[in-house]
Amino acid sequence: MSTRKTATPAAQAAAVKSALLEKGHLSDAHFDAAHAIEESLKWHNGARVVARAWSDPDFKARLMQDGTAACAELGFAGPEGEYIVVIEDTPEQKNAVVCTQCSCTAWPVLGLPPEWYKSPAYRARVVREPRKVLSEMGLDMPQNVALRIWDTTAETRYLVLPLRPPGTDDWSEDQLAAIVTRESMIGVALVVAEH
């Protein structure tokens, strides 16, 4: 009965789950269904979208026109993916995504976000000093490339379409998908052709 001590996260998570189950608010089947949703949220999905866009001009046109529908063509949809907008990197403009107020991302194509994306430091700094933040992450953008930072404040979920690296003209979609990284689709890295 003593409630002076503060519960550890592990104890609190177990307490809430057991109470929900015992009181009948949720069942194991619900948790299994939630787990199935979790398993479907992979950034590798986004890599497939990017590889398809690089390989298929018609798909790319549909993707830029209606990101949600084009991702759904490949079977990628779900929570935090109600309205997906694709933003295209160009030689003149580099895009990067943040959520300053919490940590929203396009789960169906980017998966659950990594620690750095959720860190208060990234959230606070990238809208204020984007060039410095990208540089610290290993991406030194030339001064003649404008930076555009997209803050995920409403229900739009952004996916960055990175520049296709040179020397990949004859690569298959699978080969291309294999070099696309999560960071490149959040916009803080370039895609590099690996041999």
């Binding site: 009965m1 003593s2 409630t3 002076r4 001590k5 503060t6 519960a7 550890t8 996260p9 592990a10 104890a11 609190q12 998570a13 177990a14 307490a15 809430v16 789950k17 057991s18 109470a19 929900l20 009181k23 608010h25 949720l26 619900h30 948790f31 269904a33 939630a34 787990h35 979790e38 907008v85 300053t100 107020q101 919490c102 940590s103 998966g111 659950l112 990594p114 620690e115 750095w116 860190s119 208060p120 430091a121 990234y122 959230r123 606070a124 700094r125 809208v127 204020r128 984007p130 060039r131 001064q143 930076l147 555009r148 930072i149 997209w150 803050d151 404040t153 409403a154 229900e155 739009t156």
Partner: protein, 210 residues
């Protein structure tokens, strides 16, 4: 609320680490917290995502920054399940063998928006200014753009107005706008001239730029 969660532009943060081959969850309780939230929103429909975001914003203010991401998830969902009457704090404390952590009570917004239509009021290319709003409850207009002017780059379809939806006020939908702000408009001469920040803003947050 102008809370600690509204981090955009705040100074004092340093380097952050990018983990190689990062697992989705770092400890088992993190996955439990995530799954419990998904099940509570999508299956139990105990609360909506606007209420969920606000439950985290209401965390004790000096606990927010040190907390891990899924710790915030856990504190938020625990708060809501208790507030909605589905769970009982004393029972949870007993189960946990210690006091479970919860957020502070909500202060409701009184303003449920300025737009009565789902048809867009602004078009791509329009100059708009962000209203000087300071709602006491949930809002998604960051402090760092308030009072500043930008250009509409894209009109998104109508979505639930979060300032109302997070507080059980009548649900209305209105368009959101991707508004591009020049970095120097936001941060003055300290920013790079060519850079922009795009913020996705509900129509009620905006007025015509003077």
């Amino acid at each position: 609320m102008d809370g600690i969660h509204d981090l955009g532009g705040m100074a004092g943060f340093g380097l952050f680490e990018v983990e190689e081959n990062e697992p989705t969850f770092h400890e088992p309780w993190e996955e439990t917290a995530f799954l419990t939230n998904i099940a509570s929103v999508a299956m139990l429909r105990a609360y909506n995502t606007d209420e969920y975001r606000h439950s985290i914003e209401r965390m004790p203010i000096d606990e927010y920054l040190p907390a891990r991401y899924y710790e915030r998830t856990l504190i938020g969902l625990t708060t809501l399940l208790i507030e909605k009457g589905l769970l009982d704090k004393a029972d949870l404390d007993r189960r946990a063998g210690a006091s479970v952590r919860v957020s502070q009570p909500a202060v409701a917004n009184t303003d449920d928006g300025h737009t009565q239509s789902t048809a867009p009021r602004f078009c791509v290319g329009d100059r708009v200014r962000v209203r000087n709003m300071h709602p006491p409850g949930h809002t998604r207009v960051p402090r760092y753009v308030r009072g500043h002017s930008g250009t509409v780059l894209h009109v998104a379809p109508p979505f639930r107005f979060p300032d109302a939806s997070a507080h059980g006020l009548p649900v209305r939908r209105e368009c959101t706008y991707h508004v591009g702000f020049e970095s120097r408009e936001l941060w003055s001469e300290s920013a790079e001239a060519a850079d922009t920040v795009v913020v996705d803003l509900w129509e009620s947050y905006l007025e015509e730029s003077p």
